[in-house]
Amino acid sequence: MSTIESTPSLHRSLGLTDAEFERISELLERAPNDFELAVFSLLWSEHCAYKHSRRLLAALPTTGERVLQGPGENAGVIDVGDGLAVALKVESHNHPSAVEPFQGAATGVGGILRDIFAMGARPIAILDSLRFGELDSERQRHLFARVVEGVGHYGNCVGVANVGGEVEFEPAYENNCLVNAMCVGVLPAGRLQSAGAAGSGNLLVLYGSKTGRDGIGGASVLASQGFEEGSEAKRPSVQIGDPFTGKKLIECTLELLDRGLIVSLQDLGAAGLASSTAEMASAGGVGLDVDLSAVPVREDGMEPFEIMISESQERMAAIVEPASWDAVAAVCRRWELDATVIGEVTETGRLRAFHSGELVGDIPVETLTERAPRYDVERERPARLVDAPSGAGEDPGTPPEAALRALLAAPGVASRRWVTRQYDQLVGAGTVVRPGGDAAVVRLTPSDRAIAVSLDGNGRRTWLDPRRGGMSAVCEAARNVACTGARPAAVTNCLNFANPEHAEVGYELAEAIGGMADACRALGLPVVSGNVSLYNEHGGRPIPPTPVVGVVGVLDHAGLAVRAAFREEGDVVLLAGAGASALDGSDYQKVVLGETAGRIPEPDLEAERALHAFLAEAAGRKLLRSAHDVGGGGLAVAVAESAMAGGIGVRVEEASDLFGEGDGRVVMSARRADVPALRKLSGPVPLKRIGTVGGGEIAVGPARIALAHAIDLYEGALPRIMEGGA
């Protein structure tokens, strides 16, 4: 074994503290060599080890009747009935997207797809949650356009429908955009895959793309420390995506699984082979021997550590029984993908890496995973947080009509069609409800069952109250799903925060997770997967705490799906739920009053749960013509959106609170004759008749606007900003 001891202080440039370096030496009972130190630095990074968040994440509920796989694997999996299961996960690709928006976003999609098919699922839906600075600069418009193009490029080329998501614009995201991608896949419930390596003597197979020097992240520092002085070593650390290979990888993997050729499966993502092999060995309680010189590489002269930590895209690792290897190789050949045996399962409990016959690293697996450091975060309540509402009422100086017009055309509220029309929404023959409403509904074709899926967050409101913001993100995503008639079933989350070593950020993180945990418990929603993205700040300016929540719900029959659009003249408009609302943190406060201040109301979780149950019951009995969440822009915008989606006007007389935002309210419409049955069904949920569908005008109390004008403002806003025209 090469026993070059690590350069003193190298660990610091790799992001490890002195204490962590000492801990590594204690665990190994010797000093690590440079190769081992590189592996530790990545496996003990926040991204892989969740060292600042894991203790807080323990607050989240993770179990439930439907849960087949909770957190800890590549993705969570729930049973959705009829022998079908659904895998779901959301992940961030914030920093790569800030550096290179197209490739950063594209590989974000590629990565989340791999997490889903690593579970044995066929990916059927992508959602993207994006945050940028305000669109008033060329740079922000460029970032926005290129990220959308990157998300679309990968998803379109691999043939997975993009069915929803969200976009938010706030100055605080200017130098740290957020790009979160979620994927949902479907699998036979009995075919759940695991990453856990098993069976001493079984083969470790790497298949997919060749390994290059791209995406060698934190460790590029290593290269400048004397390993190699060539200019190649300074390559940009953003990964490059190849969706064509990604598509072949999906189909090849599903074929390998269909044929029962694989023992366990793991994608290669952050930290490449280092984390994949460590996770597979750890999950299986075994050891792995890896021969790095067997790895197909893109260029000569790659150092062992570079091969070990390269983040080259479109690669998978599988454990295969020796007897299956020929068949595995044949399937990979058919898909024109490299497949190579690069190691084997051992009983040593150690991750041992060899290169040209020489042992280059020897690390007990558990030291990389379970024994990685865990930290408690310091918490200090940020001074900006206040205990009381701002007291701001509706600005008497702005007529409600003008406010409604301004909101419909505001980038934060306006139609997202400019984004979603760049995505294939239909491939897979399942998209029953397309993006643009509350949640998308995707039929699990050929079954008649369907899932509803939504991805939501609200940085501005969470900034004003991290705990309530965390609760609200869960409530909103679940309510969006419930609006389609589906019963919310499981949560995946992506926690985008600033530097957790700052006590104020620690407070935000702890509070937001606590709020999410409360809401998930109250709504009976297990968190089955997720991702934490910390250190989102630039020049000392932190992003707002931004928990993003994906919810999947189950609908017994796709034909029962309810849409946001009003449908027929004469239908009755009702407001279900009476959740507290306020202008604090609202789009009205931002767009009309030009500020974000005060405190958002606390969601009533019991009322929220009752509302969701009522929606599912009413949809199941076909009593709803439409249902739409009251979200950004308040009641006035919600009513207008249902009218615009349906291409029909509406008159709402009962409207005292036009623009306030909060949880627990849904605008619905029903046939006049069905209103008594709805009332009977509503039980504890307040149900108030507020207006009637019809005409060519949107009238919400004093705010009135011609339908065609509203559509022009709403649909034309982003095209005008991005292209100077519709």
Partner: protein, 226 residues
């Protein structure tokens, strides 16, 4: 016995599975034909499906046009068998010179997904039950769907009645809003819109069934003659 319809599958095909399912919904028997195969598995009709065959490297459709499976399609078409190219399949058929014209990047240079209206230009075996002036609703989704032919070719196409469908509102800059053309013999047709995504009213439209029915009807007619 129901007629067999081959759906080609290239590495990078995305809509092959939906096309297979649509064929089955129409009561025909779908057969998946792998790009490396050089026979069509006894199929009487062929769909060249959408997607990004061979990653669209070189030009969309350029590499797929040279595949063994396309050799079999060429023979099938020469013998009068019906062939329908959808989206990338349309690009493949133009690259293979089985259809006139080329498909350029969209005029706005963006990938565009949207429902489009398609105006029927004339009565045709491809569009059973429709007459000139009827409108079909079928979605498009593509980056390179801007159909181009020279003015001289355009005249020939019009004179020979090879234009079957025009966009009601041109989504991509196609010359004269052309959405669907056939070869001179009329047995090979291509279009950018996706009939296989429009077979179920629950998902938005079932107008795509008309084109698929046209394909199947022609296959039955050819088989009856043979």
């Amino acid at each position: 016995m129901s007629v067999r319809v081959a759906v080609l599958a290239f590495p990078g095909s995305c809509d092959d599975r939906d096309a297979l399912r649509a064929v089955e919904l129409m009561g025909a028997e779908p057969v998946r034909v792998w790009h490396a195969d050089s026979d069509l598995g006894g199929a009487a009709a062929v769909i060249v499906p959408g997607g990004f065959s061979y990653g669209d490297y070189l030009r969309p459709g350029a590499l797929a046009a040279l595949s063994p499976a396309m050799g079999a399609v060429r023979e099938h078409a020469a013998a009068g068998g019906p062939v329908l190219g959808i989206c990338n399949g349309f690009q493949v058929l133009t690259e293979a010179r089985l259809l006139p014209g080329v498909l350029r990047p969209n005029a706005h240079l963006q990938f565009r997904f949207q429902d489009v209206g398609l105006r029927v230009q004339r009565e045709s075996a491809w569009l059973p039950g429709t007459v000139a002036g009827d409108t079909l609703d079928i979605p498009v989704k593509h980056h390179d769907g801007c159909y181009f032919v020279t003015p001289g070719q355009l005249e020939e196409l019009d004179a020979a009645g090879q234009v079957l469908l025009r966009y009601v509102r041109n989504p991509n800059g196609s010359v004269e809003s052309i959405a669907c053309v056939t070869n001179a013999a009329g047995n090979v047709a291509g279009l950018m819109p996706h009939p296989e995504h429009a077979v179920d009213p629950l998902l938005g439209s079932a107008d795509g069934r008309i084109l698929l029915q046209g394909l199947i009807d022609q296959a039955v007619a050819v088989e009856a003659v043979a």
